[in-house]
């Protein structure tokens, strides 16, 4: 994706199946899955099916966009699931008036959204601070909040389930604009904004440069520490928003469950989408396609009577296959 046209011209003279698969394999797999379902899964071509799949994949994609940026710098963020739990626990406490009563419900909902997303962003900033100020490895630094973050959410709510019916808030999970679920619009906006930023802005190119060669990036005058801080903060913000969408869909917030295992789903989507896990090459659209492919595989298996446990095994196989094909593509290129 980041190849310049000249390079593409010199390398792509002869058709190389591995290179082709590495570039378009995931997209082809997605299209094949759709064709398969159109042929064999009953009631597949309905708005209902589309909505079910899109709403399920939304939160993964939102988190995975932040994760893509983090991974592009050569890092990783294990704390996203726990940050979702924190924002998911905090928001209802605010709009239900448990912290302080707010008279106007619109004001309360706005405050809840802003504060809880901001708090998740601050925790992300904290991750970035550990990584850039102390040079702690990202996997260890974010492990701290992975362990502590869910505990913080549980302590805040005392482990209790918070249930609510607040349509003004749940608009982000249940509402529709022109028939399209609001969270799908949110997801698309975030994907487009991030893809544009990564390709077209200085900040985006700096992210890629740091992942490619951090020392070289630093020597060429990029403020590496600041870029890393921002990237982890963005990942926190994305996780915060995803937490809100999850609780809005569920009409309840359970600190023990919100975002559980999300870090792995997001990393899997990023890897299947073609972003290099060692950094330096990233594609946001790829991440979107990766997440949708994993989701559709699971849906296809479940819709055709395969148990969820077996779907896990298949998902594992797909992750390995996708990463392996991409590696072959690079080795041949």
């Amino acid at each position: 994706m980041t190849d310049t046209p000249q390079m593409a011209r010199t390398t792509a003279r002869r058709f190389d199946p591995f290179d082709f698969l590495a570039r378009y394999g995931t997209l082809i797999a997605l299209l094949l899955l759709i064709l398969f379902n159109l042929a064999f899964t009953r009631n597949f071509a309905t708005i209902q099916t589309l909505n079910v799949n899109l709403t399920q994949v939304c939160t993964i994609v939102i988190v995975a966009v932040g994760m893509t940026l983090v991974i592009a710098t050569g890092g990783i963020d294990l704390s996203v699931g726990s940050l979702m739990a924190i924002s998911g626990a905090l928001a209802p406490m605010i709009f239900l008036g448990k912290i302080m009563p707010i008279g106007n419900i619109y004001l309360a909902v706005a405050a809840a959204m802003l504060v809880s997303i901001a708090v998740a962003g601050l925790f992300g900033l904290f991750n970035g601070w550990l990584i850039s100020a102390f040079r702690i490895q990202p996997i260890v630094a974010t492990l701290v909040l992975f362990i502590a973050g869910r505990g913080i959410a549980q302590v805040m709510t005392n482990g209790n389930l918070q249930t609510f019916r607040v349509p003004q808030f749940q608009f982000i999970g249940l509402g529709r604009v022109l028939g399209i679920p609001v969270q799908v619009i949110l997801m698309l906006l975030i994907v487009l904004a991030a893809a544009w930023m990564l390709k077209r802005t200085v900040f985006g190119r700096q992210i890629i440069a740091i992942g490619g060669n951090e020392r070289a990036a630093e020597l060429s005058g990029i403020a590496v520490a600041r870029v890393k801080l921002l990237v982890y903060a963005i990942s926190g913000l994305c996780a915060g928003l995803a937490g809100l969408v999850v609780i809005a869909i569920n009409s309840s917030s359970d600190a023990n469950l919100v975002g559980l295992g999300m870090e792995l789903d997001a990393i899997a989507a990023v890897a299947v989408g073609g972003t290099l896990l060692s950094g330096g090459k990233a594609t946001i659209i790829g991440t979107l396609i990766g997440a949708m492919t994993i989701q559709l595989v699971r849906y296809t298996l479940l819709a055709n009577g395969v148990p969820d446990a077996a779907a896990l095994v298949v998902k594992a196989g797909i992750i390995i296959l996708a990463v392996w094909i991409q590696q072959q593509g690079r080795a041949h290129a």
Binding site: I76, L78, L130, F134, R135, I136, Q137, I139, V140, A141, L143, V144, L145, F146, I147, A148, G149, R150, G151, I152, Q154, V155, N158, G159, L264, I267, A268, A271, L277, S278, P307, D308, A309, A310, A311, L312, V313, K315, A316, G317, I319, I320, V323, W324, Q327
Partner: protein, 325 residues
């Protein structure tokens, strides 16, 4: 010179000092802290984590990571429970064998297909978990109480819990392998500089293969103890074990970049995190403060934070001191 030495000693034995201080604190503050019952229950429970962390320690020393250990332990517990009516040894062998199978897949993915350890073991984590759920039909599998299988996890031998003896034996073997065999030295060499190690003619592929294989087997063994101790194979146990094990290894001072590590310090790291839990329970029992179970993960996270920040500062100081001389 003395300052450099002091810093490196603190970095190396800090975890042991912290462990001793914590035990001293517990001994002075709580009546039954060093009582037989408490010691054996702490050892019995933490021996599972100790086994998983030992495998993780070796994998991390090569510069890799094994995210699959938790679900491998779950799979091991299910398989052991299914085979437990056949007898102790068959149950034990089946559980360990299941773990070795997962280890074999990890090893093949990492060394043959050259897939990054993080992604390879993430995938096998999902696959092992799915297989455990399929075999167990989505519920716990009760073990046989007639075959004596439960004695592995529940009985004592020479006054100490059998799981503690198993873990101790594994750590002694691990220590000998790391320090006195060419494979063990090779593990550290691979983690320090893989290309250089390959050029020196060491069998890099075989060394890496062995660590993932062993990590799987140890996780399977932890699963056998889990099933035996709690009387059931538990397909959804083991969630988050991998990260606990990584935390213990890191607390023990092993660098995640590989090349440096200590088996003994890893054991100290496991005990430190385990006893921290134990102390919190005692503190709750005293009634001065009342921390819900949820606080424990917050405190564990804080503790990990302090350790890694201190390590980072020590490493920076150590580098500066080395430069000064």
């Amino acid at each position: 010179m003395t300052r450099t030495r002091w810093i490196s000693l603190l970095g190396r034995y800090g975890v042991v000092v912290a462990l001793l201080l914590l035990v001293l604190f517990g001994w002075l503050r709580y009546d039954y802290f060093l009582g037989f019952f408490n010691i054996s229950s702490v050892l019995r429970y933490n021996s599972m984590f100790a086994l998983v962390a030992l495998g993780m320690c070796f994998v991390i020393m090569t510069g890799g990571i094994d995210l699959s250990v938790g679900s491998t332990a779950a799979l091991g517990s299910v398989v052991a429970a299914l085979f437990s009516p056949q007898g102790v040894w068959i149950g034990l062998g089946a559980g360990v064998g299941a773990g070795l199978c997962v280890g074999l897949v990890n090893a093949a993915l990492v060394t043959r297909l050259k897939i990054m350890p993080f992604i390879a073991t993430l995938a096998t984590m999902l696959a092992a978990s799915g297989t455990a759920l399929l075999l167990a039909d989505n519920q716990s599998v009760s073990v046989s109480y007639d075959s004596g299988f439960t004695s592995i996890g529940q009985d004592n031998s020479f006054g100490f819990p059998i799981p503690a003896w198993i873990a101790l034996a594994a750590y002694i073997a691990g220590w000998i392998i790391l320090n006195f065999t060419s494979t063990g030295r090779g593990v550290l060499a691979v983690g320090g500089n893989e290309d250089a190690t390959r050029m020196m003619g060491l069998p890099v592929g075989r060394i890496k293969f062995l660590v993932y294989f062993a990590s799987g087997g140890l996780a399977g063994l932890a699963g056998v103890i889990l099933a035996s101790q709690f009387g059931a194979g538990q397909p959804i146990e083991g969630v988050g074990w991998e990260l606990f094990a990584i935390a213990a290894v890191v607390v023990g001072g092993t660098l995640l970049t590989g090349g440096v590590g200590s088996v003994g310090a890893t054991l100290a790291g496991v005990l430190l995190l385990g006893i921290l839990f134990n102390v919190l329970n005692f503190e709750n029992g005293k009634g001065w403060i009342s921390l819900s179970a949820y606080w424990q993960s917050v405190i564990r996270g804080l503790f990990l934070l302090i350790v890694v920040v201190l390590q980072a500062k020590l490493a920076a100081r150590g580098n500066a001191a080395v430069r000064d001389h």
